[in-house]
Symmetry: C2
Subunit: 88 residues, 2 copies
Amino acid sequence: MVRTPLTPLERARGLQLGALLRGARGERSIGHVAIAAGLSPETLRKIETGRAPTPAFFTIAALALELGLSLDEVAAVCALPDPDALSA
Amino acid sequence: MVRTPLTPLERARGLQLGALLRGARGERSIGHVAIAAGLSPETLRKIETGRAPTPAFFTIAALALELGLSLDEVAAVCALPDPDALSA
DNA sequence: CATGACCGTGATACTAATACCGGTATAAGA
DNA sequence: TCTTATACCGGTATTAGTATCACGGTCATG
């Protein structure tokens, strides 16, 4: 094995990231926000639904800028302090 | 073409990101920092040298946490305010 | 009903990130 | 000298991110 497949924790982290972004998007449409951030609506949809759990740094940076989020805040939310929260 | 190849701007942005990380690493060894951040030394080396210009968000987040950097600061440094700075 | 504008999902295509291996070079220490 | 540690690079393998296309669903408006 060369590139480690994503672990369940990483996928769970992707879900948290997606939920955070979706919440920050509010009433704006996916398409509008995606275009404004410079990516395709399909990609943003995948990120929000957790089907792209580990997006590129600059993709998230562009989204955070567009949505008025702090990157440190985003990272902190997805920190997953205790993995027990997954099995619960 | 399905996935857009990286543009020269994106590669230049990767170089800035790498230089910032290398500067923040200081005297610590690549291997030590990489292991502490949870990635392989080869990957960190590629990021620092700009050969991996658009790393994953959580990869940069882990590195920033390990190096004591603010993610917003990192994004701001790599913002590339004017593309003319490249041709200059 | 028809049309358009969204959202959502799946398939497909292609590039990039990540990791492991081997080789090379340099510097410090036994 | 030999060993060790570090750094750098090339190649290789595998997974994942991103974009496009196609289809179906919903809702508003003509």
